[in-house]
């Protein structure tokens, strides 16, 4: 079994999602896809290098961190929605220089 194609597909989907979607929730889903691809890559590298236990513990750390990322991201989305009544990222363009 080779997980490398799956990892690349997941990563590509995540990037595609982040680049094309304009809905903040969809962006969050894209970000999660990226994160899952990374987690899988770390576990798979453990299989390849024969250090499964070590990489599994790393994967658990990543999952915990992702939980926090999701929580903060959702909080930001909620605050943004309250401010502008929309989830469209076009509204965030005020930061343009």
């Amino acid at each position: 079994m080779n997980l490398l194609p799956l990892i690349f597909v997941l990563f590509g989907l995540g990037v595609f999602c982040l680049v094309t979607k304009h809905n903040l929730v969809k962006l969050l889903i894209g970000l999660e896809l990226l994160g899952k691809a990374t987690t899988l890559a770390i576990v798979w590298s453990g299989v390849l290098k024969n250090t499964v236990a070590y990489n599994q513990s790393l994967a658990i750390v990543i999952i915990v961190i992702e939980v926090m990322v999701v929580a903060v991201f959702l909080g930001l989305i909620y605050a943004f929605y309250q401010q502008s009544n929309t989830l469209d990222t076009e509204e965030l363009r005020r930061l343009k220089g």
Partner: protein, 606 residues
Amino acid sequence: MSSEFSALLILLVPFAGAALVPLLNLLSPRIVPAFAVLVGLASAVIAFFLPFGMKPGVYFSYEVLPGVFKTGLLLDTLSIVPALIATWIGFLVLIYSIGYMKKEENLSRYYSLVLLFIGSMVGMSLSDNFLSLFFFWEVMGVCSYLLIGFFYADPKAAAAGVKAFIVTRIGDVALFGAILILYVLSGSFEISANLAYASKIGLPLLTAISFGFIVGAVGKSAQVPLHVWLPDAMEAPTTISALIHAATMVNAGVYLLARVHPLLAQVPVSVETLQWIGAITALLGAFLATFNNDLKRILAYSTVSQLGYMVFAIGVGGVFASQFHLFSHAIFKALLFLCAGAVIHELGTRDVREMGGLNKEMPLTGMAFFVGALALMGLPLFNGFFSKDMILEQAYEHNSFGPLSLAVIAAVLTAFYSLRTTAMVFWGQQRNTKHVHEAPASMTTPLVILSIGAVFSWLLIGRITASWSLSGFEGEIIGWKALAHETFVSKAFMMTAGAIIAGYLMYMKKTAIGNFLGSKLPVVGKSAGIGLGFDAVYGGFVAFVYGFAGFARNIWEEYIMEGINKVTGAVAVLSSLLARKMQTGDIHWNLVYIVITLIILLGMVL
């Protein structure tokens, strides 16, 4: 009480007293003067025990920084004489202050600073290394600044304090430079080690060091051209003038020169310089005193002149003569100042033209002043006569006739202005309508003691010379009879006596001379009246420095620094104009950049 123990005590007692005065003032301001006098008496009594059983050497040596700096108390005759003078004159001044300063405010500050002043003078003279000597030297500078400006509400007094501080600072910088050069060369701050090391230093460097010491002493002891602070210091309370002129401040420079004389003697040019500085100062001081009408300024210029004699004596190798004159001068100058203080206290003016005929109302003060004036002009059998004669004798033996002639002319003028001042203040008719009284007992007691000292202090010569040779200095032990005999048969006696007679004749013809100068050479009196323009030159120099500094500051601030600010601002604006294009504000484009960067980095790694 052994001399070592009293040396330790005498360093502690004045400082402890100075620290306790403000605390006592919280309890009761009325006991402060009495306490200060007690501390003064204690230090004077302790100082009295210093010479007894004295074995010259360093005591209580303590390593502050191991291997770098250790400090101790140096006891020999050279160091004990200034300590004795400082404590005894200081004690008499403190007694006198009870009456003189009775009505003033802030007495705790006054007494605390006086004690600190005395203590630092003692500390300076007993220091065995240049670093603590310099420390106490600076403490004295601060004390003089604070005490000259004691009446700080008066702008003239405040300015005089600042002037004294700044002018003496010039000398202090030079002195510190000399000390540092010596330390770099010899690796030690110790005075004796450095003096022994001096013969190994090359002549150019040794010249620089000796000139550092000379400039330091010139600043502190008010020699030409840095004498300008001393007459202005007359804004201080008269007691402080007496203290500065007789006991502490100005003696420090002469003491320093005497202490480093073995080093100075190795540099012919510095010895020559000392002779000329001393002689010119003696003449200039006497000349300016002749033409002044402010009683305290006359005395100040006479101090300048007498200090010139001392420096001149060191220049011709008469270290003992200079210290002997220092001793005599301390007594009669303190006497003169305290008498002047009593007169000014009663009359409320310092102008001698408004005085006169005070002998009737103030006989004791008048007598004391006359004694002091006779000692100042060097009339035989007064202490000033013997020490001044010794200086002239030394100069004669040293064959330095150029400076010697100046010093003799200065002696003529000294005799003249001493007589003139005494006559203006105490003799003749009263020229004002004020009703004056004799000063209170607390003020006249020191006058009586000092008058006795001014007549008889030279009898101590035997004791001083004995301990002098014990301390390992050159010179034979002479008793007072031998001194009197030697003085009267010496060649210098002719000069001293001639100077006094010439001065007396000048005094007799003073109206004629005054008319001649007034009609033919008015420039003499005018230029002397403004102190020969030293102040104007220095003031002009300072104004020039201020002006130039303001101009330079303007250029630097308004053009150079402001220009740099403008250029950096413009660069920041320009670069931000360029860089803002990169901020699209579009999260998707940012992500595209991130992915592209990721691919590039991956490509570099793989």
